[in-house]
Structure formats: structure tokens, C-alpha cells
Point group: C2
Chain length 790, copies 2
């Protein structure tokens, strides 16, 4: 980590310490569990111990008799109020509390509300539930078997577990290319089920006021406005009476987009008791019952010429969505995956098909920094390219350089119809090679191999499609709202920006202040960014899919430019000169050719609120509101290089170096971008090497604690080496593309490619993630070559 100079206080874009950090480092952040209200009760949820089982009986009388218990609620009680089921954000329904049968281990069965958290948890053990076990479907392939138990028998007319079959691309044309290709490589691969494991688990405090009917809900949500609309539909409360506050959030990564039953339970509990009610998950509950990610079985095929020109991609995916579509399925198709599965390459034909199924597992989804399944698509193509290099015995960098899209091809429309906006992919890769000293690494590797040491160098190139606006195919809950931004400059010259997106730790209060500062010349310290409260902010879809800077950031720019335009008009009245004779210069407006005849934006603000006469037709005040619809997605890209050492004796993988060169267009605060990249790279090392939510045959979750679900710590990751190129997006008003998910998306294939590169002496082409010592050891052993190299 480089030292960041505190004196660097740019007026706009540039390195600047985060405005939110003084609060966090002093323990003054406000997380949901910090919310304390007078008379607040505590809610605990009874979760199903079985993965599939009919609810035979439930007896709450002993629990109700607990002296500190105020309320015990079962699914049957909710059903009387028509609250037993709730819509999800993905055109499905989900049980708030089980009424008919349990569909995954950890599902919500009942809840207790008590005077304190301890009593509530104790009373859960006093509830007596009898389940009749049902056959469990854990494997997505088995879910499609004839005779497989129908998990979602609550859905009228459903006779199997298939959710959808979707496809993209021209199958016949792709097949024809494959049939004629010099070389075809096929590789099956699994992207295992993982969990983002945010620092803060899910929590809610519901405060329903029986007098005026108003509900205030503090909760860990990435999409406060969408949640509010859904609560209005679920709880039957008028939307104007609901306030959703999403305060500081300890990480989201998509895991906090869905509406969880716990939120609804807290609302119901407050309505029934007339008191505020807090629900906060423990770690085990978070790991077993909140939305997982990935869980894709992919068959990948790549067709190429003998000299390494990639011609076509073909893939078939089986997606395991668990028992409910939490926030898994966009309404038309898995847009992200279908958008970028051809990767960063110039490919003439491609076809993808995807089947999704219900299983007896917790709901899966987009819930981990993956923009509607881009993560899986990038992994697929980047592994396939390395498999092709393996087959052709080519250097994987050479193969990529031969196929990367060229700058003159942008805007580039893929064979499946997605238009990449901008990029210089070769420059990005060459910058990574330069930082890494790729040639030097290969020389080092050769020396080490000669000594029997296993060193590997892995490369990945990726393209994302992020920053979705109100596209009907990327909606949530049928809501495809454009994102609002409201900028108000006060009479004394400070400003407030209100945005619809919601920070989960990304540093919005800093980045957005800088975005506005760059446009209106007020220092970032004097610009307050308000977010995460439906009472304070304009409507919008929230934060997911790297859309904060790319969508809300754009909205902020447009609002700021409106304010600047109005300031110019007012300045023309102040200076008594035509606006065409004025120049804007970073917060100072002066007469052309006469820098001394000037006013500042602060002068204009005071004037605008009444100290002076305004031009004809100009309203008082200095403010602007916009709703912003992006005309297109933005396409961040990057090139990553990973260097690993594999211990031939223990099969332990050590990531020795990692070089990440990202192109996210215009860089607003490089320090924050680097922080985002560092985080995502850590995600990637975790997924590649250690993370997997496994289930046994009975559907028991085997990753229910952080002792079982391993996350990388500082000891498992190297000092990250980052670099950048800049190709601004032509669609974004300041050319920014969004970087929140890039490294999570791009790094796993680099790590896996590096490990397979290290294992080249064994002839291994693929091992499924996570590349734990036992998996790698087994793979090496399976080659029968272990003895010879050890």
C-alpha cells in the first residue's frame, strides 16, 4: 500500500481521502444493529433444520409462556393476514414463514419477539415443530430427472423444477463454424456456489406508528426505493407512509438487494406489538439463508484456426437457483452472461443456452458482484482460451493478443448483438505485461521448472457490461425507474447532492462530492452527499451491477451542469454582461478577456436566494433535479496477471504476485478505485482457492460458519499491483464506466489459469474451483505423475 498524502485535496477528480472514513475509524458509523429505539423489542427467527420436509405440526404454547416473550408468530398466523408469501424482486414469490413445507435448510419457520435478544433466541428452542421428511434435491442435474420431487408445488400448475430455458446467438451458424473449425476444445466446468459474506449481516429495525400508520424501516438494503414499493405491496401499507432508511452498510455485493423474510417479519412484529422491533441475523443465518451466488454448471466449447484465431464459442449452462428466485432472474434473460460470454475477443459466431432449476437449497442469485452473471461468463471464456492455448501449445498471452478487439473496432457489436462502447484492450494487456515483466516471469518459471518447482503465470482479459438503466430486461420487481439526482447549492455556497443509489462502503460520499465539485467548482468538503433514505432522496433502482458511478454519477453530472448553466445566467445579471461573454473557470465566472471582472459560484448562490435581482424568467435559488436514463450500458475492461507458486508436496497454492490493469474510463478518485480493485481481487483469490458453499446429500449446508466457509485474509493475498488505461465511455457524460465488480469478475480465471500453468508439467488442463490443497493434490495424484516430479 502506498501512503496517501492527506494534503492532496483536489477541487474535483483526483486522489482524496474518503469523507466517510473519520466516521468509520472512530466507530461512529451507524449500522442497522446500532439503531436503538425506546421500547424496542427483539426478533429471532426459527429456521428449518431439514432441507425438504412437510410441516406436520407446530406448537408455540411453551414459547409464548416465556416471561419475556411478547409474541410468537407462525406461517399459519401470517396466512390469516395474507402475509405468508411475498413477491421477490425477480418475478417469483417466496414464503415469509413456512406454511406448507420447508424447501431449504435454514428457511424461516416461525419468529419470536421478546424483550431482549437473548430471551428471543432462548424461546426459539421452546417451539416444537414436527416435519415429515421429503426427498431432497441438491444437484441441479437431478432436479431435471423424471420423478424428481417438485419443489415449488406452491406454484399453480407446476410439475417439474425447471424455471426457464433461454438462449442467445445463432445456433445453426455457430454449429457450422464449429463443424468447419481446425480445432475445437471442449471443457466442462463448474462455478461453485459462493457467498459474499459481507462484514455486516442482514438486519432490520421496524417502527410502525399505529397512530398515524407510518412505518419507518432501517434495513440493510442496496435498493431502498424498490424495497419501499415492495413493502407497500407486501404489507398493504400505503407507500407514502413507508420510510426506508439504509444507513451505513457493511458490504453488500448484491447480497443485500433481495427482500428477505426477516425484514417482513420485523415489519409485521412492529405492527402487531405497536413497538419498534429489531431483527439482526447471526453469521450462521447469513451464510445459510441469504442469497448465494454462482452455482453454474457450464459446458464450454471454443473453435479456432490452427494458428490460434478464435472463431466461435458455444456453451450450455445449468443454473441452480435454489428454492426461490431471490434476485436471480431478470425478466427476459440472464442479460450479463449472454452479453459478454464472447469476452474481449473478435469472434464470428456464438451461441449460449441456459436452463435454470429449483433445488432444495437457499435462493441463489446475482448476489455477488457479478452484474447479472458476468462473473461466470468471464470465467468460462477465459478458461476456454487457456484450454485452447494448452491444446495449441501457444503462450496464452500470444493467443489473446491475436484475438483481442482492436481500438478501431469500437463501438463493437458482438455476434449476439451487444455493443461494446470503447476500449484499447491490447494496450491494457500490454500495460499489465509491462508491470509484471511477463518475459522475465516466464524466464523465472523456466528456471524453476528446471528445478522441479511449480510456478505458474495466469492471465485473464475481461469485458463487463454494467451500469444498467431502466432497461426492461434488467429491471427489479418490474420497476425500471430512472435514477434521480438533486443538487442544491445553499445561500452560503455549500451544497447538498441527493442521489438514489446507496453506498455499501464504496465511498459515495466522497466520489459523488468530487463529481459535483469538478462540475461546479465547490470544494468536495463543502458538498454533502445524501443517500440511503427514501425520505431524503429521489427515486431510483439502487446500487448493484456497478451502476453507482455509471448511472447515478451521470445523473449527478447532469444536475451539476444544470446548476452551472443557471449560475452563468445569474452571473450575467450580476456582471451586467451577456452570458456569451462569460467564461466558466472552476467555480469562478469571469468576463472573456478580463479575469478580474468575476464572481464566484458562492457569490452567485447568495445572489440567487434574494440578495440581488434575477434575470427575467430565472427562478430563485440555485438547484437542479434530474432523472437520468443511460442511453447504453458501459463496458469496463481489464487485463490481469497472476503469479502463483504451488507446493509440490502439499499442493498449497500461494499467490505471489497479482497485477491488475483496469480500464474503467475516467477515473474520479484513483484511491477509491484502487480500493475497489483490491477488494475484488481478494474476492477472486478467495473464490479461486478456498470458497465454496457445499451441501451434503440431505441438503445440509456445510458452510454455515466462517470456520467452514473460508475467506482469504491478508495473509493469503499478495501486495496488489495495479495499473490503468483510460478509454472514456462515450455514453457517460464524464466517460466513467463503473469499477465496483471488475476485479471480482476478472480475477478468478487469472488465478485458476496460473495454477493450471504451474501444473503444466502434469499435463492438467482444468480443475474446478476452489483450488484447495486437497483438490489440487488429488488432481496431481490422478495424473500418476506425482512421484516423478516430487
Amino acid at each position: 500500500m502506498k501512503f496517501i498524502d492527506n494534503d492532496q485535496r483536489p477541487m474535483g477528480h483526483g486522489r482524496m481521502l474518503r469523507k466517510e472514513d473519520p466516521r468509520f475509524v472512530r466507530g461512529k458509523g451507524l449500522f442497522v444493529d446500532d439503531v436503538q429505539l425506546p421500547g424496542m423489542l427483539h426478533l429471532a427467527i426459527l429456521r428449518a433444520p431439514v432441507a425438504h420436509g412437510r410441516l406436520v405440526s407446530i406448537d408455540v404454547t411453551v414459547a409464548e409462556a416465556h416471561p419475556k416473550v411478547k409474541l410468537v408468530v407462525t406461517g399459519a398466523m401470517l396466512a390469516q393476514r395474507k402475509l405468508a408469501w411475498m413477491p421477490t424482486l425477480s418475478h417469483d414469490v417466496q414464503a415469509v414463514l413456512v406454511t406448507d413445507k420447508v424447501r431449504f435448510q435454514g428457511q424461516e419457520v416461525a419468529f419470536v419477539v421478546a424483550e431482549d435478544r437473548y430471551a428471543a433466541r432462548d424461546a426459539l428452542e421452546l417451539i416444537d415443530v414436527v416435519y415429515e421428511p421429503l426427498p431432497v434435491v441438491v444437484d441441479a442435474r437431478a432436479a431435471l430427472d423424471d420423478g424428481a420431487p417438485v419443489i415449488r408445488d406452491d406454484l399453480a400448475g407446476r410439475t417439474d423444477n425447471r424455471i426457464f430455458d433461454w438462449e442467445t446467438g445463432n445456433r445453426a451458424a455457430t454449429d457450422a463454424v464449429f463443424a468447419a473449425a481446425d480445432v475445437v476444445v471442449r471443457q466442462d466446468m463448474v462455478y461453485p456456489r459462493v457467498h459474499p459474506a459481507p462484514l455486516e449481516t442482514c438486519a432490520a429495525v421496524a417502527d410502525h406508528d399505529a397512530v398515524d400508520g407510518a412505518l419507518t424501516l432501517w434495513c440493510t438494503t442496496q435498493a431502498p426505493h424498490a424495497h419501499r414499493t415492495l413493502y407497500a405491496l407486501i404489507a398493504g401499507l400505503p407507500e407514502h407512509q413507508i420510510r426506508v432508511i439504509s444507513p451505513d452498510i457493511g458490504g453488500g455485493f448484491g447480497n443485500k438487494v433481495p427482500i428477505y423474510p426477516g425484514y417482513v417479519c420485523a415489519i409485521v412484529a412492529s405492527m402487531l406489538t405497536g413497538r419498534p422491533v429489531k431483527w439482526a441475523e447471526d453469521r450462521s443465518e447469513n451464510l445459510t439463508s441469504t442469497c448465494f451466488a454462482r452455482d453454474y454448471r457450464m459446458r464450454g466449447e471454443i473453435a479456432a484456426t490452427r494458428d490460434g484465431r478464435i472463431r466461435a464459442i458455444r456453451t450450455d449452462v445449468l443454473a441452480d437457483h435454489g428454492a426461490f428466485n431471490g434476485v436471480a432472474a431478470p425478466s427476459r434473460y440472464p442479460a450479463g452472461f449472454f452479453g459478454v460470454f464472447t469476452g474481449s475477443y473478435d469472434i464470428e459466431a456464438a451461441y449460449a443456452s441456459m436452463t435454470a432449476v429449483y433445488t432444495n437449497k437457499a435462493p441463489g442469485g446475482i448476489a455477488y458482484a457479478c452484474s447479472f452473471r458476468i462473473t461466470e461468463a468471464v470465467y468460462l471464456i477465459e478458461r476456454l482460451v487457456d484450454c485452447l492455448a494448452h491444446e495449441l501449445d501457444m503462450d496464452p498471452v500470444e493467443l489473446r493478443l491475436k484475438n483481442l478487439l482492436r481500438p478501431d473496432q469500437f463501438p463493437y457489436t458482438t455476434t449476439t448483438g451487444w455493443t461494446y462502447d470503447s476500449g484499447d484492450y491490447e494496450a491494457t494487456l500490454r500495460e499489465a505485461l509491462r508491470i509484471a515483466d511477463y518475459a522475465g516471469l516466464r524466464r523465472e518459471q523456466a528456471e524453476k521448472r528446471a528445478r522441479g518447482e511449480l510456478m505458474g503465470i495466469g492471465v485473464s482479459c475481461f469485458t463487463e457490461a454494467v451500469g444498467a438503466g431502466p432497461r426492461k430486461d434488467m429491471d427489479i420487481a418490474g420497476l425500471a425507474m430512472s435514477d434521480g439526482a438533486e443538487l442544491q447549492v445553499h445561500p452560503t455556497g455549500t451544497a447538498v447532492l441527493r442521489v438514489s443509489c446507496q453506498s455499501q462502503g464504496q465511498g459515495h460520499e466522497t466520489t459523488f462530492a468530487q463529481i459535483v465539485a469538478e462540475q461546479i467548482g465547490i470544494a468536495p468538503a463543502d458538498i454533502k452527499v445524501v443517500h440511503g433514505d427514501t425520505e431524503h432522496t429521489p427515486f431510483g433502482l439502487g446500487t448493484y451491477g456497478s451502476r453507482s458511478t455509471s448511472v447515478s454519477g451521470a445523473a449527478a453530472v447532469v444536475a451539476a451542469r444544470k446548476v452551472r448553466d443557471k449560475a452563468m445566467l445569474i452571473a450575467s445579471a450580476m456582471l451586467e454582461i451577456s452570458v456569451t461573454d462569460l467564461v466558466w473557470d472552476a467555480g469562478r465566472i469571469h468576463v472573456v478577456g478580463d479575469p478580474n471582472s468575476s464572481v464566484t459560484i458562492q457569490d452567485v448562490a447568495r445572489w440567487a436566494y434574494g440578495s440581488g435581482e434575477l434575470p427575467e424568467g430565472v427562478d430563485g435559488g440555485l438547484a437542479a433535479q434530474v432523472h437520468y436514463d443511460p442511453s447504453s450500458l458501459t463496458y469496463p475492461n481489464g487485463a490481469y496477471i497472476c503469479v502463483v507458486d504451488v507446493d509440490p508436496g502439499t499442493a498449497v497454492v500461494t499467490v505471489r504476485r497479482f497485477i491488475a490493469v483496469d480500464d474503467c474510463g475516467t477515473r474520479i478518485n484513483p484511491m477509491i478505485i484502487e480500493g475497489q480493485v483490491h477488494r475484488g481481487l481478494t474476492d477472486g483469490v478467495g473464490m479461486a482457492l478456498m470458497e465454496m458453499i457445499a451441501f451434503d446429500d440431505d441438503g445440509n449446508c456445510l458452510g454455515a460458519s466462517l470456520m467452514d466457509y473460508l475467506l482469504p485474509s491478508a495473509l493469503e493475498v499478495p501486495d496488489w499491483e495495479t495499473g490503468f488505461t483510460v478509454t472514456p465511455s462515450p455514453h457517460h457524460p464524464i466517460g466513467a464506466k463503473g469499477v465496483g465488480e471488475s476485479a471480482t469478475v476478472g480475477s478468478p480465471p487469472a488465478v485458476v489459469n496460473a495454477v493450471l500453468d504451474a501444473l503444466r508439467p502434469y499435463g492438467l488442463r482444468h480443475i474446478d474451483m476452489p483450488l484447495t490443497p486437497s483438490r489440487v493434490w488429488e488432481a496431481i495424484s490422478s495424473t500418476g505423475l506425482r512421484e516423478s516430479t516430487a
Copy 2:
């Protein structure tokens, strides 16, 4: 009181129970003293016992040693932080704590912050202060004497107590009319110093967060945004870091427009202690140190023809502003007084001059439902007209009918240049006469007089000028902001309106919901009105001078109409027909001639947020924001008739009947209007008969408790009889004029006229308010006629 039918739930304008009342009647209102924050400290203010005295020494060591005391602050300590003086809202400065000398009894000298309110008050008595007495100026006339002590010696270069000399009208032309007039009547009169005595006294809770520098201030203010700007200037905090919340307020009446030292003390205390600090006045503090109203000595002259045609008015006023211009002086002139001192009459010439002075009394101001001194002006003209009637021996109604402006004269520009918008003054007066059965009353009076009983009938006609927008002559603190309104319809079809004005009990949450409902066809119950929080609301000047409905109400109408226009555009896409072929019908939009082809506003809202395709160029969402500058003031008017009985033995005045006919233009919720009128009539009876803040020669306030400062209770007022006429204002989008001050303004002269009418047998023409039994008894006695009638 008539019973209000709870089932009357109009979709727009009409009688409807107040939405805020369920909260109030259940004790769930949130007044500032209800705010409880963890770790909150309590602040008490040491007030000066003398009216004028140099501060010799102040010793706080004993107070500081009190075990529960956290902080004791003096003016000297504030001076070190440049906080000892603050700007007022009226182009003056005021001491936060005394540094040099005390200028009125009750002035703030020091404050104590302690763990509880009791300890804070106890510790005040441990502060040892020595004052050197100075000569006291109590009488405004004495303030102008040569050699009078200069009260505001803090103001550079000041050598006397004169604040301003202003005038309006053509003096020479007026004098000429007077010289040629058949009849001239002159009457000196005093409008005594009074206090609105709101139910809730002033209070503040300041919570300064040392980590992020943010200040949240709950306080009893009628103007949250203007206060925020001033606090930014006073406390040196950036405006964007200040949030002012004005929750439910127990009455304002102008008394809560000013910034009081206590608010600033609470802010400073929180900044110094790092903890939330509450300050709440007791009743005595409120009565002695917050802004008073009136205190005008007026010389009035009226010139007329022998047959009762009023030709000219001339007046000279001496205004006592106390020790500081709290919120007394608009920047250019006492606009309200100068605007309407010619009353409701067609008068050819008028001239008014006014001198204002500082005295050793608490700050005076506009602080009591008087729209920049309209109350005094109406009293002056209506008393003069009755004096003229007395002189001419005419019936006061006949005299008024002869002189009232006729409907065909509107818009009518007065001789001093103010343009009254609309009215039918004769119809209004005749409606009052009808309700009162004026002829019958006169017959009854004649019968009673024959029996020696003292019955009086008093009439007043009044015109107000209210609803000031950002006029430079009616600014506060140099801020002349236009008033914002933001209307947001949610996807589920409920709505939120945010307005810059602030309710102090008027029922804004109901009236504004009805205003919007009438425009967009969503039920008032589904429209939430947000106000009183700078974080939640657009900028605006706040609520005073009857400007809520007349200004912010207009802003709400304009915003709602914008929403309706957008809804029509979206409906045209939904129904696939040109917008010109659509009809708006109270929340339903249908095809011309085909009422069945229709969509509701709720359908449109859902569509607008993503469920359907929007027309080209139409943003997502359904919302609008406006800032509204009224093109003109509005001119409510009314005619009041009061019937009194005076006990010849005790001189006690009993108000037997009171008939109030108000014309406030379009009537949104007649029940709320009647409530406003009832309140104002009670004010008027109080001022006419019992209220006065008196001072002894040493400047001691003689009205420092509600035992000394008498307010009318239900026993002292009659069952009010109200009526109305409607002449919509052409300047307001729905023709509403504002009614919050009408009855306070119009009723005192009716009561006084009635009492003098009752005393006609004694030949009395004028007695100064308040007409207490002793004053009336003395006046009767002075005639020497008492024996003969008793």
C-alpha cells in the same frame, strides 16, 4: 361548534377532519421538549434582573463546581469565539450573551449546562453578577429626548435611539385635502405591547457531531431554511452540515420567526460538550424575553365631507422596537402598515410617517399575526371611521357603506400605490349585517338604553395585504427565496408533497393534501405532506404573514398541475391516442366521448416507474418540482360585528355575540378556515379587553406570568358566528388568499367600537386598549356622568 361529519371525505376541497389530529389527540405529537437523545444535557439561561445596566463582573466558579454542571458560559467566553453577537433576521445584531451592558430585563447573561434541568436551574443561582445600573428608557417618546441614554452604543457611530424615519404617500396633497375638508377628526391612540403567548414556549435541542461536523437542531421555528442560513453565518458551520427540524409546534403567530439567543446557546453548548443539549424556556422567560408585538403610538386624522364621504387619512406613528430589531423592520419600510392604512375605503389622499426607536424593553416586532404591521393599520382606520361617525352622528355601518370600495373598482390601486386584487366589500358587510340582524340589534340597543343598560354594537371592515413572495421589501435576513414545492407520486399511486412552509398548528398536512388531491385526483389520505425539516424540504422563507396557502399552496398547485400534465402524456401512450383526445376527470383520464377507455392516475404512476413504455422525451417517474414567486400579494378582507354588554356598575365588558364574515377567496377546507378565524377572534377579544405587556419605570416587565398577562379563556368569548363571501384572487392559481391572520387583525377594532358604542350615553369617543374594567370605569368616571346613568 357544529358537529363535523367524519364521513365527509372529499377528494379535494371541502370539510374534512384534520389528518394531524389523531396524533395530537392521542398525545403523540412531537414538540421540541419531547425530543430525548441519549446523553442529552440541559441548558438554562441566566437572565438580567435589570433593564439597563453595565456588566461589572461575573463569577461562575461556584456554579462550575456544582457536581452536575458540565459547563458555564458567559458573554466573554462567547466573545473569544466571536459568538457574542448574532445577526437578527431584520438587519440588526443582537447579543447572544451580554458582554458590555444589559439592554432589557430578561436579557441573556450566561448559561449553565448540566446533567439535568433541575441542576442547571439551581446552578444559575450560584452565578454572581454585579451590574452598575444605568438610566432606563421605557417610554418611546422619552427615547427621542435629547440626553436620553443611548441604548445601542454597540452600534458604531450611534448617538441616539432613533432606528428609522419612514413615510409614504403625498404629504402636500394630503394636507391640501385636509385643509379644504368639511370635517376633520383627530384621535391619538395606542396599540399596546402584547404577546401571542403560544402554547409551547421556545425550545431547542442541538446535536453537534464532532466526528463529521454535522449539526442537527430541533427548534421551534417558523422559518427552518432561513434559520439554517443564519446559523451557518453565526456558528461558522457550513450550511450543508446543518439540519434544522421544526417538529410539531404549539403555536407561532410570528413569535417563532426570530432567532433567539437560546437557540445559539444550545448550539454552542453542544459543540463545546460534544453531547446533545436541550434548552426549553419556561413561561416567564417566554413572556419576558421573546419578541413582543405592536407598541405603536399613533396620531390619526381623517378628513371627510359633511355627508360622510371620507377624503383623506393622515397619521404619524411612533414605534417602540425594544432593545433590538428582532424581526421588526423589513428592509425598506413597514410594508404592511403603509400598504393598507387606508383600509377598505376609496380615499383620494393619504400620508403616513413613522419613527421607530430603541427602548430598554425586550425586542418587539411583527411577532403576532400581523403581516408587517397590518394589525395596527386596521385598528387605526377602523377606530378613525367610528370617531368620524361619532362626530357626524351617523350610523357607523351607513358611513362604511358610503365609502367601501365597489366591486367594479378592482383591481384597485390605493393612493399610496398598493393594488388590491379583488373583493366585494359591500356584500361581505351585508352578509355580516344579515347574520347579525343589525337592525334588530339596534332596536334591542335602543330598548336597553331606555332602561339604562349599556349595550354596544361595533363594526369593523378590513383589508389585509398578505402572501409575500420574495419581495425585497419583505425579506428576512436579506433572503428573499422563492418557495419550493415537490410532489412525488409513488409507483403504487400514493404521493408525497414537500413544502417549504412550516405548520405551527394550522393544519397544513390536511390543507395541502386537499390542494394536491383536487388537482391530481388522489385522495388526501394518500398524500403525505412533509414540512419543517431542512433535510426533507425545498428552500423557502417559511410561514408568517399568512403566506402558507397563498404562496406555498400556490407552489403545490403548480407542482400538481405539472404532474397532471405528465400523467396525461403517459396516459396517451397507455391508451395509444393523442393527448388532445383525452379528458382529465378527477384522477381518471379517459378518451373524449368514451368514458370506458380510461386509466387512473394510479395506473399511470405504476406505468411511469417502469411497467410500460414512456412517450418519447418523457422521463421515468411521476414527480414535479417548482419554485413559486407570487406575482402579487393577495388581499383578504372581512366585515366583523361585535355585540357587547357593559356592566354600568363594574364596567366589566361581556362580548355577547361576534359575527365574522371573511372573504379569503377560494375556501379549501372550511372547517380549518373556521378554526383559524375562531382563534383569531379570541386573539382580538384578548387584545381589546385584557392583554397588555406593561413595564414599570425601571423597565421591570409586569406581565411575566399568565397570572399577570391575561388571556381570554372559553368563558370570556361567545359562540362565534361565522360567514363568508368568496372573491378569488386573480393572482393565485386557485384563487386562495390566506386567512391565518384575518381575525386577529380585524376583530380588535370591532370590540373596541362596540364598547365605545355602548358607552355612547357618556359621550366617550375613545379609550385605549385593553378595555379592562378599571380603564372603562375610569373613563366613565372622568365624564362625570356616571351617577346619572348608574
